[in-house]
Structure formats: C-alpha cells, structure tokens
C-alpha cells in the first residue's frame, strides 16, 4: 500500500503546480523552524525553577521588528509571483488546441469530441495534444476537476468557461465535480483516460459515430431558419456572419463589443440584448428552442464561417469596414507541446477596446 504525497503528474501543467507546491512547503518548513524551534528551546531553557541567567536589559527592538516585517513581505511577493505566473500560463490556451465541449448537468458530465463522438462521465484524450475544454452548465454551478492535471474550473449556467491541458502520461485518472451541486454531488464523477495518439484515433472509430459538432451546427443553421436571413437574401436585412467570431462588432448607441462565444450565445438566445449598428431588432429569440449541446454546435459552426482570416469583417453595411481587432492573432503551428514557452498565439490584452465606451461581453477567462 503506497502513500503518495502528490497525485500522478498526468499533464505538463501538473509539474509546474507541483514545483510551486514544493517551494511553498520549503518556505513553510523554514518559518515553522524559525518559530517552533525557538519556542521549544525557550520553553525548555527558561522553564520556571531552572537556574539560568535571566538578566534581560530591555533595549529597543525596532531593528528586529523591522526585519521580521520586511522579510515576510518579500517572501510573500516571491510566492505570489510563482503562483500567479503558473496560473497565467494555465489560462492561455494555444490558438489551435483541440476543442471539446463539456456540458455539466445535475450529476453527470456530457462530453463531445470535435469528431462528433459523445461520452457521459468518460473522457478519452490523445497523449501530447493540447486540449481545450469549452464548458457550460444546464442548471447549477459545477466544477470540472481532474486532480492528476492539477486543473479545476467552475462550470456556470449561462456562461462559457474554458480550461486547457496537454495530457502527457497514458493511464486512467479521476474526474470529480468540486462545487457542491445537490444530492448526488459525490456521484458526479468520471474517468479520464489518456491514450497514445494512434490508439486514440482507433478508439474514435469504434462505437457509434456521433455527428461532428460542425456538421451538426451546419444542419441546425439550416433547420432553425438562420439561412433565411443571414445568407445574403435581398428581402431581409441581417448582419453577415462570415469571419464574425473574434472580430469587434459595432453596436447601436456607439459602443462596440468583442464577438466571442458569449456574444454569439447571447445573440442567439437574446437577440435584442445587443443590436448591431445599423440593423433593426427583427431576430426572434431561440430561448428554449435550442439545447445547450445544439447551441454549442451552432457556435462551433459559426466559428468556422468566414474566410479564415480572424479579426476582419467582410461586408455588412454601415459597419464602416473592418474595425481592426486589438492584435492580429498570428498563426501557430498545430500541435504545441512545450508548456514552458506559451504559444505565440498569446496576444497582449486588448486593453482599451477599439472604439470608445466599455467593451462588454467578451470571452470569459
């Protein structure tokens, strides 16, 4: 019966977190030594009745107080730096990571692969491939937690949250729900299985082939009647959706917003919430007509629309040409392995949005 102190390191990120953890354990042992040590010694040496020299001239102790205020401050800043830098890398998925969709529902995880395969409480991943999970919840707040990846992220209803990792060690690991979500919170668990890439490709072909999200998105795009207005019909005046994702959309009233997953979701479910500049509020709301999975499929399909160049809007009257996004998202080589240097896809934060007024919506971290 082995007693591991650390769970297995099944992803590249896990090593970094354990590195920070070791630093913290070291510094804590140092501080414990600096306090418990002297206390034990003083208690032994200066116990009452022990004949020992107790003459103590009370001189000012400002220097001592100063040292044990400044040193903890610097140690604290160092620890902050360690923790924050690892966290910052953890929250920046590379551009071309393989995107899976996760929907948390009361007491189960529904996962869909880009190739269409669906799983419940099971997650099969290829080894060495950067994977990004786009997650939402159908009811309460859950939290996607894989101890071996040292990764956890709350899954909120009505919003998209993402995590990413690079699985590195084949094997089978735990998947937990970490945010209390009701009666069977402790049964909302699953297995994450990491397989070598070849084995993963073979696994994809076994079992029933689900429709890939992009194909399902295209199908729904037609069935729900989106093509009626958005595909260049002269009769209806609707914004062009090519290259929409990632661009900055000018809104009614002079403000602009970033077209990310949340904007796409809000535009489908609550079209009158943010009306594009130069258009009327004609679009019907699809609230309740579209399930979370179908919504994710349509959004994935919308992302593939457009001429493949990000940040540049074609057409769309009155949008005064493409409003250049904060920074051009450079291309990145497909399978990025080394976590140490973040993928060049990392763009400086947009900072102030392109046009005046507060940019709202925008991608959740």
């Amino acid at each position: 019966m082995t007693f591991p102190l650390f769970p297995e390191q099944a992803s590249l990120g896990a090593r970094e977190v354990d590195y920070v953890m070791l630093w913290l354990i070291g510094i804590s042992c140092f501080f414990l030594l600096v306090t418990a040590g002297p206390i034990a010694f003083f208690c032994f040496r200066y116990r009452r009745g022990n004949q020992v020299n107790r003459v103590h001239i009370r001189k000012g102790a400002l220097a001592l107080e100063f040292t044990w205020t400044i040193i903890p401050i610097f140690v604290a800043l160092g620890l902050f730096g360690l923790g924050a830098s690892a966290y910052f890398r953890q929250r920046h998925p590379p551009e071309e990571a393989m995107e899976l969709h996760v929907v948390g529902k009361q007491w189960m995880w529904k996962i869909q692969h880009p190739e269409g395969k669906r799983e419940i409480n099971e997650l099969h991943l290829p080894e060495g491939v950067a994977v990004k999970l786009l997650m939402t919840s159908e009811d309460v707040i859950h939290s996607f937690f894989v101890p071996s990846f040292r990764v956890k992220q709350d899954v909120l209803p009505g919003r998209y949250t993402t995590i990413w990792m690079v699985p590195s060690k084949p094997g089978s690991y735990h998947l937990f729900c970490a945010e209390f979500c009701g009666t069977s919170h402790s049964r909302m668990i699953g297995r994450v299985t990491i397989m070598p890439r070849a084995e993963y490709q073979a696994w994809l072909l076994t079992g029933e082939q689900g429709e890939s999200p992009v194909a399902a998105g295209a199908r729904l795009f037609r069935e729900l009647g989106c093509t009626g207005c958005h595909v260049g019909s002269p009769a209806v005046h609707a914004p062009n959706l090519n290259g929409l994702f990632g661009s900055v959309v000018p809104l009614e009233g002079g403000t602009t917003t970033l077209a990310d997953e949340r904007y796409l979701r809000d535009s489908i479910m609550l079209p009158n919430l943010q009306i594009v500049h130069g258009y009327e509020a004609l679009m019907p709301s699809y609230q309740g007509k579209v399930s979370e999975e179908e919504l994710m499929a349509v959004i994935t399909y919308l992302k593939t629309l457009g001429s493949g160049k990000r940040g540049e809007r074609i057409g769309g009257p009155g949008s005064a040409g493409a409003v250049e996004a904060g920074g051009e998202a450079a291309r990145v080589q497909p399978l990025h392995l080394d976590m140490r240097t973040p993928a060049p896809a990392v763009v400086q934060p947009d900072g102030a949005p392109a046009a005046g007024g507060p940019a709202k919506g925008g991608t959740p971290p």
């Binding site: 920046h92 998925p93 990632g246 990000r310 998202a329 947009d350 900072g351 949005p353 507060p358 919506g361």
Partner: protein, 104 residues
C-alpha cells in the same frame, strides 16, 4: 473618567447657517434635474454622482454636526463610506477586467 477636551457646544451652528445649507441643497437639486436633460453619454453618471456627493457632504457636515463634533466622529463617518467604496470597487474591478484577456 475620560475628560472630553473639545466640548462640542462651543462652535454651534445657527438656524441661519442651516437656511443657507438648505438653499444650496435646493439649487443643487435643480442642477441635478437640469443636467439630466443633456446626454453626456458615460459622463452623465459621473456628474450625477458628483452633485449627489456634494449634497451628501453638505448634509453630513452641517445637518449632522460633523463639522462641530470631535474628530473621532469624523473618522467613524468616513470609515463607513470608505468601506462602501471597498465593496463596490472590489466587486466592480472583477467585472471590469474580465474582457482584458486576449481572445481565445
């Protein structure tokens, strides 16, 4: 017992001062309503709160005797609004900085 050095009875407001303060408050009220008719975009909130702040200060200093009371009362009153600012700014700075991440 602890002697209170600065008796608060010495500098005492009079009805005349109160009348002037009341007049100022009425003028500021009219100003607030007037300003609302112009569209200053995002600045309309800032201006409205500024005027409300001035009105609040007038009430606090004169009607609530802060100007004539001992310093510790001033600290207690100030602390309340400082903590309110901590609550509002602490919550808002999370919503403000949610869009600063580069696009996924």
């Amino acid at each position: 017992m602890k002697t209170d050095k600065r008796a608060s009875i010495a500098a005492h407001p009079s009805v005349v001062i109160y009348l002037k303060v009341w007049g100022a408050l009425m003028v500021l009220l009219l100003l607030t309503i007037g300003i609302a008719h112009f569209d200053l975009g995002d600045w309309s909130v800032a201006v409205a709160l500024l005027i409300a702040g001035v009105k609040a200060l007038l009430i606090l200093l004169f009607f609530m005797h802060l100007r004539y009371d001992r310093r510790e009362v001033l600290v207690f009153a100030g602390a309340a609004y400082l903590w309110l600012m901590i609550l509002i700014i602490g919550t808002l700075h999370d919503y403000l900085s949610r869009n600063w991440l580069p696009r996924l």
